[in-house]
């Protein structure tokens, strides 16, 4: 039985859905069933309203003017930074760098922290689960520096092989860079444990938290990580904004990533003195409206309660796993005991691309392809999978529509 809108104490998903204007629309004449939040989540009206209000009433450049509008814009932008700090429990707003997104945050650390320090023969340790964004920046750096990329394998379940990871930690390991939650398989990584292992081996830890931050409470200090990155657009905020968290002493010791305005204290043609944290890493005019509305999105999530969101999505994932596993032609890819928000699957005899097209005509949005994680696909010998991913607004009824859509696909291609 699927009708269960108030299954979790106080979590009224129907009411939550009314906060998201886009969920009222139809696609190909069918109600939209949006199961692609791992690619990008939808925005609540408060976030859309925050962009609108800022653009209508408060816009001016930040950190630059004595005039009223610039002061308002600056105050709003800096309030958003404080919201981010609180959301992930950073020690100070100096540790919260606004970037364009997780990808830029990773590149920033690769270029500003690792590049000046990496020596030939040094190692960067990743896992096989990583998104291309957490592979390519390190790979480029290793090529340039004659360093080596080491990769911890994954088990058939999609869990990281921790024993193998531990063996791959050597005195040459400088950085361990891992996802918190796999975008392709949904595996939750034991970040705290990996951070302990890495630190014991003398390496730093970078965490790609793009998928985890919308789905579970994250405490960067509790996890004991050195850097943590995530994106606004996966946590119900606008695209084009993200965060790099880094420990103050690490950030202080790093040269700027890009040169430009706002990151300087004084400039002459002979010498430039850099601004203090976090502005040292924020050259140029930022995405002001996006940053402010990002703060609004975090307020929205906090208002619902991350623990309740996590419980709601856990219920959805369990229900979806059960519903799809009941279809004999379905194989679920990624069966780790600790999973969240993501359900990857393949259908016997049907290519994921065809699944995606048929489901789309049913109004169901899923992602099909390699999910920017080709090494994961290679590990399972698949060219691609179909992936349903859940957000705080999805329902059991939508899972039923997905299961029905999959049966339609099978009728068509069998």
């Amino acid at each position: 039985m699927s009708a269960n809108p108030k299954s979790l104490a106080g979590y009224d998903v129907e009411r939550v859905r009314r906060d998201f204007p886009i969920l009222a629309r139809e696609v190909h004449g069918k109600p939209l069933v949006f199961l692609d939040s791992a690619a990008s989540s939808q925005r609540p009206a408060s976030v859309i309203g925050a962009v609108d209000e800022y653009e209508r009433l408060h816009h001016a450049n930040v950190h630059r003017g004595v005039h009223q509008l610039s002061q308002e814009a600056t105050a709003m932008f800096e309030q958003a930074r404080e919201r981010v700090r609180r959301f992930v429990n950073a020690a100070s707003t100096r540790e919260v760098i606004f970037t364009r997104g997780t990808t830029e945050s990773i590149n920033l650390v690769a270029q500003s922290y690792a590049r000046p320090r990496l020596k030939p023969g040094d190692e960067i340790l990743l896992t096989m689960l990583e998104h291309h964004a957490n592979i390519v920046p390190w790979q480029m750096l290793c090529e340039e520096k004659g360093a080596r990329l080491a990769v911890a394998p994954i088990l058939d379940s999609g869990e990281v092989d921790l024993a193998a990871l531990e063996r791959l930690l050597t005195p040459r390991t400088r950085m361990v860079s891992i996802a918190h939650l796999s975008n392709a398989l949904g595996t939750v990584l034991p970040v705290k444990r990996i951070a302990e292992l890495a630190h014991a081996a003398g390496a730093l830890v970078f965490v790609d938290g793009a998928q985890a931050v919308p789905r579970m409470p994250v405490d960067v200090r509790g996890l004991g990580v050195d850097f943590y990155a995530f994106s606004s657009h996966k946590v119900y905020g606008p695209s084009g904004v993200g965060v790099l968290y880094g420990r103050t002493e690490l950030l202080d010791a790093m040269p700027p990533y890009q040169g430009g305005g706002d990151m300087i204290r004084s400039v002459t043609f002979e010498k430039t003195t850099y601004n203090s944290l976090p502005y040292k890493f924020e050259a140029g005019t930022p995405n002001i409206a996006g940053g402010i509305a990002f703060g609004t999105a975090l307020d929205y999530v906090t208002g619902l309660g991350l623990a309740r969101i996590e419980a709601h999505e856990r219920d959805l994932l369990a229900y979806a796993t059960e519903s799809l596993a009941a279809i004999p032609e379905v194989t679920i890819v990624g069966t780790a005991p600790e999973k969240a928000g993501v359900l990857s699957f393949v259908l016997q005899g049907v290519h994921p691309h065809d699944i995606g097209t048929v489901l789309d005509r049913e109004g169901i949005a899923v992602r099909t392809g390699h999910h920017c994680a080709q090494p994961v696909m290679d590990r399972f010998g698949l060219p691609a999978t179909a992936r349903a991913s859940f957000g705080l607004y999805n329902t059991r009824e939508e899972v039923d529509v997905l299961a029905g859509g999959i049966r339609t696909v099978l009728r068509m291609f069998r």
Binding site: V350, H351, H353, D354, T357, R361, T408, M412, F413
Partner: protein, 163 residues
Amino acid sequence: MSTDLRDLYQEVILDHSKRPRNFRSMPEADRRAEGYNPLCGDRETVFVDMDGDVVKDVSFQGAGCAISTASASMMTESVKGRTRAEAESLFERFHDLIVGKGGESGDESSQLGKLAVFSGVREYPVRVKCATLPWHTLKAALDGDGGKVSTEDEGPKAESGGA
């Protein structure tokens, strides 16, 4: 199932995707090329055996979606026995058909023969690359590049689509 899905997945296309023709390797073939669509991970190898300027035999192997498999299968049937120039001109007309260029004139359809069943692809811009992958690969084989082609080589404007 909705009727417009039937426009894309016509019976002929489903039949060729389930039972692709000329689906075999030709190790002795004069020419071959490998096609790759990085957006969906599809890979196809096209083998061509020429007799002078004529395609004496053609086959393919690989893994792809229903559209690309059916397109490859029907392509091999369409170009066998044709000259290289005829095969290339067929690709041009096929391309025009699926991107919706040049209208739906009966003349066009008759020249394309059975390939006209792919006209439904025009309503699915992200699937255009699936249908053209085997043809791009055939062209690379005929050009004797012996190399690899990717659906992404033509840049963002070449064919509409995306991940």
